[in-house]
Amino acid sequence: MAKKSSASNAYSREFLEKIFRTAHKIRVFETEGIKLYRQGLIRGYFHPYLGQEGIATGVCAALSEGDYIASTHRGHGHCIAWGADVKKMVAELLQKDTGYCKGYGGSMHIADISVGNLGANGIVGAGTPLGVGAALANQIRGSDAVTVTFSTDGATNNGTFLESLNLAAIWNLNYVLVVENNQYAVSTPIEESTREPDLYKRGLGIGVESHQVDGNDPLAVYEIMRQAVETCRKGKGPVLIEAKTFRHMGHHVNDPGKYMPEDRLTYYKQRDPVDRARKALKDMSDISDGEIDAIEAEIAAEFEAAVEFSKNSGEVSIEDFRAFAADY
């Protein structure tokens, strides 16, 4: 379905650098975040996006200011790719009132409606209707903004998938449903949840343009997403994109993920999306190794500063919370 060849020279260094920066920043955030978790600084749920960075990165690269995203319980990567402030993300995870949600939300609820981020969600599948709703709001107000829901393989077995995607279809909404098929729902492999592991076929059944893409290839994701956005802006949305991928570890920080077959893990790690973003930047631009090192150092510093900021942030106030409750 590709309408234009994505020859390597089609990408500017700036673009490739952005792709790499995003993917790498997610990688650092998750890797370092897990350390904070293990130190006991982060509590509750923490679902790492490690291994899936290519999807958020490629998708968001094809979106513009004014567009909307909705996310999942595994939402840090989407936030970062959407340009979130790492300081406020870390502060949220550390339960501080300088966090995105004043420490009231936590990992599964980071949102920033002021920039069109409808937020992560603790209910599997809930981002689909919410995203379709945002797309509907934009249609009502005459905006051509596109809304993307990042969703999951698990969520495609949930009724929300059918109901909301169907609504988006009959209303021709500017909506893209990105199904991150990491082939597991906690410990349950996709083969046990469905007879048809090619999830994009579910879109076809209700007349929705649907594609499958290698989710570990940020540029491939970007290309298919760019076309999906075009389809939408032509009034021919929605579009469903299934992005095949694999987690690098268990479901959440404390899940050793022993049920994940070694060979598949190796297969996907050999196709690491962050490595591929780095390689693309190197291969398709004139960037030097030193410059790449500098980018990585910058991102490391950004994260460290975020931790510092968060640790220095004040504690939440019980009085404020009680007042908020009285008004709720």
């Binding site: 909307y68 909705a70 009132d97 966090g99 995105y100 949600c101 004043k102 420490g103 009231y104 939300g105 609820h109 949102a111 920033d112 409606i113 002021s114 069109g116 409808l118 937020g119 969600n121 603790g122 209910i123 809930a126 689909t128 209707p129 919410l130 995203g131 379709v132 709703g133 945002a134 509907l136 709001a137 934009n138 249609q139 009502i140 107000r141 809304t147 009724g159 929300t160 109901e163 909301s164 169907n166 609504l167 009959i170 209303w171 908020f324 409750a325 709720y328």
Partner: protein, 329 residues
């Protein structure tokens, strides 16, 4: 008429704000099962007035999403019973979004639906489910009993920023009543004294208001003066009005169509006994539906929810309780 008052409210708010829109099953061309939305399609077009497939979870969910994204949706659900299909979106998304975002995210979402018994539509089309919404922090619960209240409250609902469960009653759509001219808006949390009285405070809402007023009229003939209070919005609840009345009458009866166990009447009773314990001359009486699904048979349907004689009897029990019990002690 109640349904016309509702229509006027929607019409006026759609005219006033382009971000107001309405979706539901058969609400566009057909004007809705109770004809509330008749004519709106012609006036506002199919972008803002649209039919949906039978997908309550989806409709409610996209309504909530649209509200979060800044539009002002009204989602019409044919029967409150069917809202059960969308409970996740109501309970886990709409009601919690503001808290989860630390206060920044708001959800100006209005779900309009109707409940209650009427005409043998049986167990899955006759429920009064307000108590489920009442319990969930973050939801406003509105249950107008008159055309004027219906209009004023719906207009207010569409201008404020929290999710509203706007619960109409299938028996009330054809109710007649004056609706004030001009901009008529009723804030949430302000009850209305539907009849003043001095002997007993009777609290009721929705379709139990006309029935309670009939009971009050009958009791008046017997020399018992009943004050009938309609909270109009159950969340927020006008506690002051209720407590003030009880401090005057020393007696309270609460009438709800919903079944007794875990209903809103229990909660109001718990508030009265907590706040006005030393004022009360008798226990708070609750008149409520039986704890069983509503049956099809019309005689049994009527037997399963409060009727005028039940209300009259409860008021009398409440009046005579102190003497009776004092004697028994």
């Amino acid at each position: 008429m109640y349904r016309e008052a509702l229509r006027e409210a929607i019409d006026e708010e759609m005219a006033r704000n382009d971000l107001v829109f309405i979706i539901g099953e058969g609400i566009a061309e057909r004007g809705g099962s109770y004809k509330v939305t008749e004519g709106l399609l012609d006036k506002y077009g199919s972008l803002r007035v649209r039919d949906t497939p039978i997908a309550e979870a989806g409709m409610i969910g996209v309504g909530v999403g649209a509200a979060i994204a800044g539009a002002r949706p009204i989602v019409e659900i044919l029967y409150v019973d069917f809202a059960m299909l969308g409970m996740d979106m109501i309970v886990n998304q709409a009601a919690k979004f503001r808290l989860m975002t630390g206060g920044d995210g708001r959800v100006p979402f209005v779900m309009r639906t109707q409940g209650g018994t009427g005409g043998g539509v049986a167990a899955q089309h006759s429920q009064s489910l307000e108590a489920l919404f009442y319990h969930i922090p973050g939801l406003k619960v509105v249950m107008p009993s008159t055309p004027a209240d219906a209009k004023g409250l719906l207009k207010y609902a569409m201008r404020q920023d929290d999710p509203v469960m706007f619960l109409e009653h299938k028996h009330l759509y054809m109710t007649k009543g004056m609706v004030p001219d001009g901009e008529h808006i009723i804030e949430f949390g302000k009850g209305d004294i539907k009849r003043s009285g001095t002997d007993v405070t009777l609290i009721a809402w929705s379709n139990m208001i006309p029935r309670s007023l009939e009971a009050a009229a009958e009791l008046a003939e017997q020399g018992i003066s009943v004050e009938v209070i309609d909270p109009r919005t159950l969340v927020p609840l006008d506690r002051e009005m209720i407590l003030q009345s009880v401090s005057k009458t020393k007696r309270a009866v609460i009438v709800q169509e919903a079944n007794r166990r875990g209903g809103i009447a229990s909660d109001i009773a718990s508030i009265i006994q907590e706040e006005a314990f030393w004022d009360l001359d008798a226990p708070v009486e609750i008149v409520a539906g039986l704890d069983i699904p509503v049956p099809f048979n019309l005689t049994l349907e009527a037997a399963s929810v409060p009727q005028k004689p039940d209300i009259v009897a409860a008021v009398k029990r409440c009046i005579h309780q102190d003497n009776y019990s004092a004697a028994a002690e």
